[in-house]
């Protein structure tokens, strides 16, 4: 199942919101969870974002130690697709506006 499949039924309101949001950057933030083993989290980050082992491990440790890590920033649509993919693997992830104009 592709990460973007949930985004098939946009209402006009949502479409307008998405258009106005397009000028901003959006972050994908992964939050800590008490269940998933570290090697599982590293594997998921590598799978979803195509990261090298070392970089994925760095993000996993940041999540573990600080409770969160910013994995990616860019367009809102892509950020939503990443968050959906992470939630499919049962990682807690959110999209946040980073306040920087694109």
């Amino acid at each position: 199942m592709s990460a973007g499949e949930a985004k098939t039924k946009k209402t006009p309101h949502a479409a307008f919101a998405a258009q106005t949001a397009r000028a901003e950057l959006w972050r994908v933030v992964v939050l800590n969870d008490p269940v998933n083993r570290m090697s599982y989290v590293v594997m998921v980050l590598r799978r979803v974002f195509g990261l090298a082992e070392e970089r994925a491990r760095k993000h996993m440790l940041e999540v573990h130690e600080t409770g969160r890590s910013v994995l990616w920033s860019g367009t809102r649509e892509q950020a939503e697709a990443y968050v959906f993919a992470l939630q499919q693997w049962h990682l807690t992830a959110v999209v946040q506006a980073d306040g920087t104009a694109a």
Binding site: M1, E5, A6, K7, T8, K9, K10, T11, H13, A14, A17, A18, D33, P34, V35, N36, R37, S39, Y40, M43, R46, R47, G50, R76, A79, E80, V83, F84, Q87, Q88, W89, H90, L91, T92, A93, V94, V95
Partner: protein
């Protein structure tokens, strides 16, 4: 295609399956982790939730399918690169639900310890804890022996 066959003690695993099936029932209509939605749009969010739920149910079914009639005949389960991803996700969802329903009072350091002495876990939650640990070991075997990233490399 890589394949791992695990031989299990049927008598030891059977009580864990009772817990795992209860957790699976809980998850039929609920996500293991509450979804966070990027948009304030109820229709969008409902679609998002239903797609996650469909995937979660499929993964949990795949895992429960390992423990059917054949398992109770020979005690073996087979994992390969075709079902590995589903099983990894299914184990994750079920572990989260077992934690939520039975193990929320157990300190995090005990939950993360692979060598917890059984006497340090209260009798009432010892079987759910064993089920939680069992699913962790299934994940560990998949991650160590099936190389879930191989197809992506």
């Amino acid at each position: 295609m890589k394949r791992v066959e695990i031989k299990l003690n049927i008598g030891a695993v059977a009580p864990l399956l009772d817990v795992i099936k209860q957790a699976a029932d809980d998850l039929r209509q609920n996500l293991a982790i509450r979804a966070t939605f990027p948009e304030e749009d109820s229709e969008f969010n409902e679609t998002w939730t239903q797609e996650l739920l469909a995937g979660q149910n499929s993964d949990v079914r795949e895992l429960l399918g390992l423990f059917g009639k054949d398992f109770f005949a020979d005690g073996a389960i087979a994992i390969d690169s075709h079902n590995g991803d589903s099983l990894l996700r299914g184990c994750s969802a079920l572990r989260i639900q077992i934690l939520t329903r039975w193990l929320h009072g157990i300190p995090a350091d005990l939950l993360e310890d692979e060598d917890v002495p059984p006497e340090s876990i209260a009798d009432a939650v010892r079987v759910p804890f064993a089920a939680y640990a069992f699913l962790d070991q299934v994940q560990k075997i998949i991650l160590e022996h099936l190389d879930p990233l191989a197809e992506e490399a």
